[in-house]
Subunit: 342 residues, 2 copies
DNA sequence: TGAAAGTGGGACAAAAAATGTCCATACTAA
DNA sequence: TTAGTATGGACATTTTTTGTCCCACTTTCA
């Protein structure tokens, strides 16, 4: 029914659907940046001042935007409309359809797509984060939830978008892997703690490098502080994780030249939990890591894989082929690339 | 979901729904009158030539209209779009909602509303007819269908819109009442025969006046030709009938001055099957008629009451209060009037 | 406290689009 | 053949849109 309406509207009033999208973009951007000035907004959206002004005046008349001396911001009803709009935008842009096609093609459990391309527009990353949070909350158990999370830029924005559960279901966050690379912001530990903070929930940290020798591992595992956390990780029923590009991850991990060569020789394109995949989704290399192992994902209730941007399309394709149990949260850019090229 | 979309669109691109409706009207009119010239079309729709031209050019570019030297007509995809549009238009105009409210308010089985007001725009009558036919066909039994129909202008346009059943379910049409008044076109017999013709179905006629004295009735009922038809009428499971305004009907029936006075004294507003109703839906007068009696409606599987136009709102209200078992097919004009005033 | 940067709103000319109107020409039906 | 009706082209005029400045005001930071 709704498909029908949109299809008809595309035929009969196509330009108005375009302005719908423009105005959606404006509201969307204002929500992120409010209060924001007219000129700043115009340049950010790539519109001339006058054009934007017309739109803003219109939206002000509709009571969706409030414009004051400190800038433009959303009104109450603006927020409401934007939220509703958010839900139907998928249909309007035909994204829902793309999502269904992707589910079929990749054979994964569910695909969620947000509009835009995070390679091109910075705020799309936030939307991906928001969508991932929504998916996570939709799958919380009423009683006990141990949620394992990984690191990375994408996961950092998932954490930034976390908010307390309205139904106050208990959550405990644990890192799914050990420390990896240098940047503090991208550590699983950091993401874990920030996410828990924003959710007003517990968390535990894993103070151990991701890659360790067998002996070190066996010794450290006896440490109570580590042992406990590892047990919690094993008990997790929900995992939220990013998908890495093989090369990037190898560099971040400061891999040895031999490793890098191996990755190159096997044409690895994706990385997750220390496993490297080639374009066909086959495991071509494996780094012994602490934390969740790939095989364990099959026993999880919910595995949410989050990754966006056209550049990550290949990595997503490779990983998804190997792991059908995931809920994939991505963006339009990656999704369409994935559908057309892989 | 679709409500949500429409609600959001009303807020964010109010023009969208307006121009959608304009273009819908154009397509709609073209379907009825094709091929039609640009100027004729413009004056019919109350638009200036230039305005209409812009719209037609647009619709031509979209491939929905074909414009040739003999005039403007619908293309194949124009017909398809219009059909889809027809289905969603109810939602867009908020008619579906009105219909549901009316069902509640009148307490009838179902209400179907077509856009427009047949008092103001002549083609709305046709749409009502089309809608009634759709309802009728949706309720045909697979095996045997005896359908009783009355006369009147509204019923005449139902007959005009009848078409053969695609599933070829057998239908037999009979008049629900005898002959009444002078105009041949509006006789139940005429409607019955035309409807059957257009449906490629059987029919039987009832050659007897609607109003007769008891003795005449008893004598004529012995006539085999009449007796058979009356038996078929008793066996009918489906009735399609119009709703009359009391005064109009009394005049058409050439009522005696006493009758007219009685109608006026009791403030009768509606008529059906020889029964007169006041505004409260009470029976205030009854003419002894041949054919279906009001009480018999309760035993019918399907009773489709058809009436449109703001002027008939009161009659519809009165009749519907008394007869909750009906499926009411009407138009926007009558429906909104009914909802606001009665 | 003062200045700098950022804000909305007003104003206005230039450009573009929409509109009303007429006319020429082509086709159709009688 | 003719009368009538059709479209498409043309064009001046009106209306709307658009790009650009400037001004007064507020906030913020030094």
């Amino acid at each position: 029914m709704i498909q029908q309406l949109i299809h008809v509207q595309k035929q009969i009033v196509p330009d108005l659907l375009d302005t719908l999208r423009h105005r959606y973009d404006i509201l969307h951007y204002v929500r992120l940046m409010q209060p924001i000035g007219r000129r700043t907004l115009a340049t950010s959206l790539g519109l001339t001042e006058r054009i934007l002004r017309r739109e803003v005046d219109f939206l002000k008349d509709q009571g969706l935007l409030a414009v004051a001396t400190q800038g433009i911001s959303l009104t109450e009803s603006g927020r409401n409309v934007l939220r509703d709009l958010h839900e139907v935008m998928g249909e309007i842009l035909g994204i829902s359809e793309v999502a269904r096609e992707l589910e079929q093609k990749l054979g994964v459990r569910q695909v969620v797509i947000v509009p835009g391309d995070s390679d091109e527009t910075f705020w799309v990353q936030r939307d991906i984060g928001r969508a991932a949070v929504t998916q996570l909350k939709a799958r919380l158990a009423p009683d006990d939830n141990i949620i394992a999370v990984t690191g990375g830029t994408t996961m950092a924005s998932v954490a930034a978008m976390m908010s307390p559960d309205k139904k106050e279901r208990p959550m405990h966050f644990v890192p799914a892997r050990g420390g990896l690379g240098e940047t503090l912001e991208l550590q699983a530990n950091t993401v874990c703690s920030r996410m828990a903070d924003r959710a007003h929930a517990d968390y535990h940290l894993l103070h151990i490098p991701d890659e360790v020798s067998q002996e070190t591992f066996e010794r450290m595992v006896e440490e109570p502080s580590i042992k406990n956390v590892l047990e919690m990780i094993r008990a997790a029923r929900i995992v939220v994780h990013g998908i890495g590009e093989a090369e990037t991850m190898a560099k971040r991990r400061r891999a040895t030249p031999e490793h890098l060569q191996m990755i190159e020789r096997h044409e690895a394109v994706a990385e997750a939990f220390g496993y490297y995949f080639n374009a066909e989704g086959e495991i071509v290399h494996r780094v012994k890591t602490v934390g969740i192992q790939l095989e364990e994902l099959d026993n999880m209730d919910t595995v949410i894989a989050v990754a966006g941007g056209k550049s990550k399309a290949q990595a997503i394709a490779a990983y998804a082929k190997h792991t059908p149990n995931i809920i994939l949260v991505t963006d339009e850019g990656a999704a369409t690339e994935l559908l057309t090229c892989y």
